[in-house]
Amino acid sequence: MSAYRRAMPSTWWLRNRAYFLFMVRELTSVPIAVYLILLLLMVRKLAAGQEAYEAYLRFLATPGMVAFHLLALAAALFHAVTWINITPKVLVVRVGENRVPPALVAGANYAAWIVVSILIAWIVVRS
């Protein structure tokens, strides 16, 4: 008599919402990686001279590229929000017997995110 082993189907991640969202979160890395490659290419074109750089900018302005960047932005936002929502699980801050409320830990991260984003936006817009 032997124990019966059930194989895990390759569609396991479609079994429930949490598994599916986990998989979506893992997949956000793909558009973000492609975005970074496009960014590195931009640096290369910049080094190649003004003409190459401007041709690259025109390529980025094509509808397909704009759509891709919107997708990459959505992926980055989803990844960032889920990341920050997890921080209270990792950072357990205690004051005596009490735990600092998880919402406060996540809130501090959101606040830092907004401050840094405003700072970067200010640097970009100013130049």
């Binding site: 019966y4 986990f22 997890i86 699980k89 990792v90 017997e97 735990r99």
Partner: protein
């Protein structure tokens, strides 16, 4: 008025006669105050004595009666039929474990993993009895109390796709319990546990799906425990790089 009934589709596997497992359908009385375990006990007592399953306390303490109920790992003693009625209820043995018979899983792997993290207090130097008890303040107790509530029901292992895909993974409950002792002020055994914990098949196999915490009936938050262990281990590494001569 006739007594209403509810249908249970139960996973059956009798190794002496079945090559492959299958499902058997039972019609049991429907009562609003019955949990799934009551219905299974009714089947065992009156319909089919050959059905095998584990249970003991029927009040969410012993952790024996974990089953997949409509595909979700749950304690069958804490899952009411009224959550599903009038739809049928599908009952299967906990996912990710080999099946011994019907709803009974093989738990040797879990038991071995549980003991591998040395789930007991390891003091630096054992005090003689005459030295009195190891004292602890309420604040020190609060640091680990949540992780000490585990009832070893293994629902978290059934919910963890990493454990399903990589059976070598130490798993949520074992890591949460290791963290429980690591956070105990009376314990100095962390470096011993790190040999098992700070490995690929220990904490680093976890990709934080988070379902272990969702299904935990004792609100232990194993996902949180694993991430906290990862943070502590990463800090060990940073300290080792910055202060190579310091003790870990």
């Amino acid at each position: 008025m006739p007594q209403p009934t509810i249908t249970l589709n139960i996973f059956r596997y009798r190794p002496e006669q079945d090559q492959e497992p299958g499902f058997q359908t039972y019609e049991v009385p429907y009562r609003t105050d019955w949990v799934v375990l009551d219905a299974i006990n009714y089947i065992k007592d009156t319909l089919d004595g050959s059905l095998s399953y584990r249970w003991s306390c029927r009040m969410g303490i012993c952790g024996s009666c974990g089953m997949m109920i409509n595909g979700v790992p749950k304690l069958s003693c804490a899952t009411f039929l009224k959550e599903y009625y009038p739809a049928p209820v599908r009952v299967e043995p906990l996912a990710n474990f080999p099946v011994e018979r019907d709803l009974v899983i093989v738990l040797d792997d879990f038991m071995q993993k549980l003991t591998s993290i040395k789930p007991w207090i390891i003091p630096k130097e054992a005090k003689p009895l005459s030295a009195g008890e190891y004292r602890q303040t309420p604040a020190e107790l609060a640091r680990y109390k949540q992780f000490s509530m585990c009832i070893n029901c293994m629902l978290c292992y059934a919910a963890c796709p990493v454990y399903g895909l990589e059976p070598r993974f130490l798993g949520p409950a074992a890591i949460a319990l290791a963290q429980r002792y690591n956070l105990d002020s009376r314990d100095q055994g962390r470096s011993e546990r790190q040999e098992v914990l700070a490995t690929e098949e220990g904490i680093w196999d976890c990709t934080l799906v988070g379902e272990c915490t969702t299904v935990c009936p004792a609100h232990v938050d194993p996902a949180g425990a694993i991430q906290q262990a990862k943070l502590a281990t990463a800090l060990d590494w940073v300290k080792g790089v910055l202060i190579p001569w310091g003790k870990r």
